[in-house]
C-alpha cells in the first residue's frame, strides 16, 4: 500500500478511501482476510476526516427533551463547528449516548447514562459525573472514560484500547472478551469478570465475584480485595516489581491508589491450558499482533 496524504484522502469518495487505506469491500472469507503490510507506510493516529476541534471551545447541551439519536447527531454537529469540550446536561439514564466518537474530544456528562454509553469510541476523553448502565465503553478503541459512581454489568465488554475507569462498583462480566486497554474498578466487581479475556489489564481495587477470569486466553487481572473463586484456567501468579510500578502509576493517575499501596494486590493470569494463540496461522497472527 502506497502512502497517501491526509489531504488526498479527504478529497476521495468513501470507496476510494477504503481502497487507499488497504481495506477491502469484498466479502471476506477464509484467507482473504490477509492484508499486505507496507513497512514504509505512514502511521495514522487520527482519522483523516476527523473534525479539528479546540478544547477551549466549550458548549453545554441539554439532553432532557432530545432523543438519543438527536443527542448523538448534535454532538457531531458541534464537533464539526470546532467545539472540543461538550457538556451533556440531564441525560437521565438515556441509552447509547456518545457512541462512535472517533476523534479527540472532551465529553463531560452531568448525570447518568443508560446502556451502551460511549461505546465504540476511538480517542475522546469522557468524564461521567454519575452512573452508567450495562455495557459502558463496549468495544472502545482509545481514549479515557472515567465514571464517578457505579456501573452496570459488562463494563468494558470487548474493549480494545484506552483506559476505562469506574470509581464505584460494577456489575457482572466486567471486561468480558476484552482484547486490550485497561479497565480500572475502584470498588467491587461481580461474577465472571474477565471472562474470555484476550489481552489488556483489569484492576479491581475491591472484591471480585465468582469465576474470575474464566476461560481467559491472555491478559492480566489485578485484585486488591477478596476473590470469591477463580474461573477455569485462571491462575494466580506473584506480583512483580514491574506490576507494582504500573499499578501505582495507573491508580495514582485516577486518584484510586489505596493508602496502603499496591503490595496486597493479587495477580491473575491465564494458565494457558485451554487455549493457545500460537495455533493461529501466520497470516492471522499478523492481523492480531
Amino acid at each position: 500500500m502506497a502512502s497517501v496524504s491526509d489531504a488526498e484522502l479527504k478529497k476521495m469518495s468513501q470507496d476510494e478511501r477504503v481502497k487507499a487505506l488497504g481495506m477491502t469491500t469484498e466479502q471476506l472469507t477464509g484467507k482473504s482476510l490477509y492484508i499486505e503490510f507496507d513497512p514504509g507506510a505512514e502511521e495514522r493516529f487520527i482519522y483523516p476526516w476527523a473534525p479539528v476541534v479546540d478544547f477551549n471551545k466549550r458548549v453545554e447541551l441539554d439532553t432532557d427533551k432530545l432523543t438519543t439519536r438527536e443527542v448523538n447527531k448534535k454532538i457531531r454537529e458541534l464537533m464539526s463547528e470546532g467545539y472540543g469540550t461538550i457538556v451533556l446536561q440531564n441525560p437521565r439514564g438515556k441509552h447509547s449516548l456518545g457512541v462512535g466518537i472517533l476523534s479527540k474530544l472532551n465529553l463531560i456528562v452531568e448525570g447518568s447514562l443508560g446502556y451502551f454509553g460511549v461505546g465504540l469510541i476511538d480517542g475522546p476523553n469522557v468524564r461521567i459525573n454519575g452512573r452508567v448502565g450495562w455495557s459502558c465503553g463496549e468495544n472502545m478503541m482509545a481514549g479515557t472514560v472515567v465514571v464517578e459512581k457505579n456501573a452496570g454489568s459488562t463494563f468494558g465488554a470487548a474493549i480494545r484500547g484506552g483506559d476505562l475507569v469506574c470509581k464505584g462498583s460494577v456489575g457482572s462480566r466486567t471486561g468480558i472478551d476484552m482484547k486490550g486497554g485497561t479497565i480500572i474498578v475502584g470498588g467491587d466487581t461481580g461474577a465472571l469478570s474477565g471472562f474470555m479475556m484476550q489481552r489488556g489489564r483489569m484492576v479491581v481495587c475491591g472484591n471480585a465475584g465468582k469465576n474470575l477470569g474464566d476461560s481467559m486466553y491472555d491478559g492480566t487481572i489485578y485484585v486488591g480485595g477478596d476473590i470469591k473463586s477463580l474461573g477455569v484456567d485462571a491462575v494466580e501468579k506473584p506480583l512483580t516489581d514491574l506490576d507494582k510500578a504500573w499499578l501505582t502509576r495507573k491508580l495514582k493517575q485516577y486518584e484510586l491508589l489505596p493508602s496502603k499501596g499496591v503490595d496486597h494486590f493479587k495477580k491473575i493470569v491465564a494458565g494457558k491450558q485451554l487455549w493457545n494463540y500460537d495455533n493461529l496461522e501466520p497470516t492471522e497472527k499478523k492481523l492480531i499482533l
Binding site: G93, H95, R131, S153, R173, A191
Partner: protein, 311 residues
C-alpha cells in the same frame, strides 16, 4: 426481553398508579405486547378486592355471541359468590371482559377462588385485601387509561412490560401473576426458566393449578406453595435460586413487602435505588429516572442476591 419494575414507599401512601405508569412507559421498548400492574392500596378492613377476566381481549372480535357468553359467565360468578355467602359491595367494569368486585366474605377465600375458576373462561387475576392486579394488551398508557390507574393511591407495586417469547400474546400469558390462591401475592419476571416442565409437574402433583404455559407463572405458583407452607418470603426467594434453573430476575410483592431475586449468572438486569422513604427498581435506570429526575445513586444487585423491603 421484557421489562420489570417495582417501587415501595416506606410508611406512607403515594400515587403508585401514576408512578408505575411512568416507569412502565419508560420500559415500553423492552416489551410492547402487553402491560401489567400489581398495585397495593390501603388494606380494606375485612373487605376483599377481586379482579377477574371473563374473556380474552381477542375474544371480543368473535361477533355478537361473545356478549351473551360474557353475561352468562358473570351471572355464574355472581351465583358462586352468593353461594359462598360473599356480599358484593361494589362492582366495576373497566372493559366488558375485566371486572373488579369489592366483597365482604367471612369464609375461606381459597375455596371461593377455586370454585369461581371452575367456570369455563373465567380467570381470577387477583384476590386480596390490598392487591389489585390489572393486565391487558398494549402499552402502559393504554392500560392505565382503560383501567383508570392514574389516580390509584397505595404503598407499593410491581409492573411488567412483556415481549412474548415462549407463549402467546394474550392476557393469560401477561404478567404480573397472582400467586393463586394465596391472597395479596404477585410476581413479575424477566428471564427464561429452563426446568419449567419439571417444576410444573412437581407443583401440579402437589395440587397447584396453572392457567397458562408461560414460565413466569411457575414463579408465582412456587412462591404461593412456599408461603402456604410457612416459608418466609426471603427464604422462598433464596431457595428459588438453587431450585429453579435458568436466567431470571424476578420481583414478588405481598400485602406489606417487596422482594427481589437474581439468578446465579446475574444475566438479567436490575437497577436499584434505595432511600429512607422510597425504594425503586427496574430493568433499566431510565425507568427509575422517570419518577426521580434528580441526580441519585443507583446500583446493580449481584448474582444470587436476594432482598426484601417492608412497606
Amino acid at each position: 426481553m421484557c421489562g420489570i419494575a417495582g417501587l415501595i414507599h416506606r410508611g406512607k401512601s403515594s400515587n403508585v398508579g401514576a408512578e408505575m405508569t411512568s416507569m412502565l412507559m419508560a420500559l415500553k421498548h423492552r416489551g410492547p405486547d402487553s402491560t401489567g400492574y400489581a398495585l397495593y392500596g390501603e388494606p380494606q378492613d375485612g373487605d376483599y378486592v377481586m379482579r377477574l377476566k371473563v374473556a380474552e381481549a381477542e375474544d371480543m372480535d368473535r361477533g355478537r355471541g361473545i356478549h351473551k357468553v360474557i353475561a352468562d359467565r358473570i351471572e355464574l360468578v355472581e351465583g358462586i359468590l352468593r353461594d359462598h355467602g360473599a356480599k358484593v359491595k361494589s362492582k366495576q367494569n373497566a372493559t366488558e371482559y375485566a371486572l373488579r368486585y369489592v366483597l365482604t366474605h367471612d369464609g375461606d377465600t381459597a375455596d371461593l377462588a377455586k370454585h369461581i375458576e371452575e367456570t369455563d373462561g373465567v380467570e381470577i387475576l387477583s384476590l386480596g385485601n390490598g392487591l389489585e392486579l390489572i393486565k391487558d394488551l398494549g402499552d402502559a398508557s393504554d392500560v392505565s387509561s382503560a383501567y383508570n390507574l392514574t389516580s390509584f393511591e397505595g404503598t407499593h407495586g410491581i409492573g411488567h412490560t412483556r415481549m412474548a417469547t415462549e407463549s402467546d400474546v394474550d392476557i393469560r400469558s401477561a404478567h404480573p401473576y397472582w400467586a393463586f390462591p394465596y391472597n395479596d401475592v404477585s410476581v413479575v419476571h424477566n428471564g427464561q426458566i429452563t426446568n419449567y416442565w419439571i417444576m410444573r409437574r412437581e407443583m401440579e402433583r402437589k395440587g397447584h393449578r396453572f392457567m397458562s404455559n408461560c414460565d413466569s407463572e411457575l414463579l408465582a405458583v412456587y412462591t404461593a406453595h412456599n408461603l402456604a407452607n410457612g416459608v418466609s418470603l426471603e427464604e422462598s426467594l433464596r431457595r428459588s435460586i438453587s431450585e429453579i434453573d435458568g436466567v431470571f430476575t424476578y420481583l414478588v410483592a405481598t400485602k406489606d413487602q417487596l422482594g427481589m431475586a437474581k439468578d446465579t449468572m446475574a444475566a438479567k438486569p436490575l437497577v436499584l435505588y434505595e432511600s429512607d422513604d422510597l425504594i425503586a427498581m427496574a430493568s433499566e435506570e431510565v425507568a427509575i429516572r422517570a419518577i426521580l429526575p434528580q441526580e441519585i445513586d443507583t446500583y446493580d444487585p449481584y448474582d444470587e442476591e436476594v432482598r426484601v423491603w417492608q412497606a
